[in-house]
Amino acid sequence: MPIIVTAETRLVVQGITGREGSFHASRNRDYGTAVVAGVTPGKGGQDVDGVPVYDTVAGAVAEQDANTAMVFVPPRFAADAIYEAVDAGCGTIICITEGIPAHDMLRIYNYIRPRGVTMLGPNCPGALSPGIANVGIIPAQVFAAGRVGLVSRSGTLTYQIGKELADLGLGNSTIVGIGGDPIVGSSFIDILERFEADPGTDLIVMVGEIGGDEEEKAGAYIDEHVSKPVVAYIAGFQAPAGKTMGHAGAIISGSSGTAAGKQQALQARGIPVGDSPTAAARLAAERLA
């Protein structure tokens, strides 16, 4: 059974007439996702590859029962797009856009959180439930269906681990990219909670990186609340302090946020941490053997 993107997902793509928006909307639909609408203000009434385009998300929700929004608009307009999706009643927002100002997300997070809206990203690759639905930019061909839940702050690193798992004969229930920004809509804990509750998931692979303390918090949470085996990988042992490593959230500040610190925190909770994607996949395979 999948989480976040499921057979019930009815997707509206915000920014569908853009280059990336149209490409991935079509790709997601071809995978089997119910891509029911797109939104580009001023282009309502057109269609992109057969997907009807609306001027507003409210229109897409009213006429196509969209319940999930994928945001592909440029960073300056992304906060507005997210608010529009929330206001129109979309319960799940998946924001691919990278480069959204941190204060915009600060407000959005505090706005949506008490309202029970689920959000992935910004700056995330989306979520893929193999064989069921794909929302975002994850290359589905890499992943097989199976019983490993995969949650990650990083996109391509997730693909790497997915491939390593597949090479070992393991598939995924859902692959969730939570995003690489300082504030993202869902934390590791949010996703761990869902995988724990998901009868289709037997083991969870958590892919972290430097910056923040979400991995440490996740470790404590796993210790208390997760009964399923969890295996981790952390990227960024070579990262110097004070430099942003690509992701706005991947920065070591003072002594906090280092890969070594995260690795120790997880291992102290009994969570095995692989020292390469390959090693992490092997640890997962051992746990499931």
Binding site: K163, P182, E209, G211, M245, A248, P277
Partner: protein
């Protein structure tokens, strides 16, 4: 983007925070002129984006303009923990009765701004947090509630700010919060926040970081960026729009698509090279959907470091297409006339096509590997071989 002390103070002043009168100076003569204009004793302060200026001799009290000029001449050009001093800030000297500390940080854990205030200022806040945590008042502000008067009261009461100063400190907290919100700041720090013998509260230093992603909203702040500073290779990368971080002492150039994979690539290269003493020379993320031209540009940045003796390409295509990457590599090799060993590992979208393109062209210095670990081992082997 980190601001220099005087730039932060300019923003402070814009939001009504009291700072000492002063002006920047780029030469000793300018420093003297500023000191003459201010009159009386002044402080000459090196403007560098690194702490510990005082201990390094980058902050000096001058009794008169002549002394200010001397100090300026000594400080300009000084190296402070790897940063060359090119800019000074000259301000009127302050009498100090107490030193407080105030900051607003972007607390990503709590997802709220975190305000910290203590009367134990003038030292590293980590020290206060460790040695006398009860003296460090901490308070989160829900950005949707906004800073309310009670936040200010609560913080001042908790920090034990004397009643006589609470009004001034409160106004500084309010101004700093407005600055934090309205300039998209990631950090606003005042250390020390001084109280003069006659009871005036003033910001004596500033530490100010603004979100790079929000600079488009603040062209004035974006204009403060010190184009001259930093490593020349990083500057080239910035000019070319390449997401690049130099690592000290490395000899293997690396390139990956996606920040996580790029970081992971460094880690596996470092692990593979540990025995033979080879290390990654950089972090480079070509991002999602890089085309041939972007790959070639990134390669140019990589090769601008003369210490780089081999390059590892680690690309797992999602948006990025393997065929584009292959074309980019070939274009770069030709354009840059590069002969150093290059190891390529391609996976994901159109990877097979990419590998075929590379196999067809088959430049002699290009080595294709099937796995990430295999590629890391290979590039270490090649750089070790080239050194022999």
């Amino acid at each position: 983007m980190d601001l220099l002390e005087y730039q932060g103070k300019q923003l402070f002043a814009r939001f009504g925070l009291p700072v000492s009168e002063g002006a920047p100076a780029g030469t000793a003569a300018e420093a003297r002129a500023v000191a003459e204009q201010l009159g009386g004793p002044v402080v000459v302060k090196a403007q560098v984006l690194v702490g510990g200026r005082g201990k390094a001799g980058g902050i000096k009290l001058a009794a008169d303009p002549a002394e200010a000029e001397q100090h300026a001449a000594a400080i300009l050009g000084m190296d402070i923990r790897g940063h060359t001093v090119r800019q000074l800030w000259i301000e009127r000297a302050s009498d100090i009765a107490s030193e407080y500390y105030f900051s607003i940080t972007f607390d990503r854990g709590a997802k709220q701004p975190l305000l910290m205030l203590t009367t134990e200022g003038g030292v590293e806040i980590e020290t206060v947090a460790e040695q006398s945590p009860e003296k460090l008042a901490r308070l989160h502000v829900d950005p949707l509630m906004g800073l309310q008067p009670f936040h200010v009261r609560r913080l001042c009461f908790a920090a034990g700010i004397p009643a006589a100063e609470a009004k001034q400190v409160g106004a500084i907290i309010e101004g700093a919060y407005r600055a934090f919100i309205e300039t998209d700041a990631m950090l606003v720090e005042i250390n020390p926040l001084i109280v003069t013998p006659d009871g005036v509260v003033r910001a004596l230093d500033s530490k100010y970081t603004v979100d790079d992603n929000a600079l488009y909203r603040h062209p004035d702040i974006a204009g403060m960026r010190d184009a001259e500073s930093g490593d020349p290779q990083e500057r080239l990368a910035r000019e070319r729009g390449v997401n690049f971080v130099k690592l000290d002492g490395g000899d293997i150039g690396t390139l990956a698509n996606g920040a996580g994979l790029a970081m992971s690539t460094l880690d596996v290269v470092a692990a593979a090279g540990e025995a033979t003493g080879h290390r990654p020379a950089n972090f480079l993320d070509v991002g999602g959907g890089a085309d041939a031209e972007a790959i070639a540009t990134a390669m140019e940045v990589l090769l601008s470091d003369p210490n780089v003796r081999a390059v590892l390409f680690n690309v797992f295509g999602g948006i990025t297409r393997g065929d584009e990457v292959a074309h980019g590599i070939l274009t770069a090799l030709e354009r840059l006339d590069a002969t150093l060993p290059i190891v390529v590992r391609l996976d994901g979208t159109n990877a097979e096509e990419g590998r075929r393109i590379l196999a067809d062209a088959a430049p002699p210095n290009l080595h294709v590997e099937a796995t990430m670990l295999g590629a890391a081992a290979r590039v270490v082997e090649l750089v070790e071989g080239s050194a022999a």
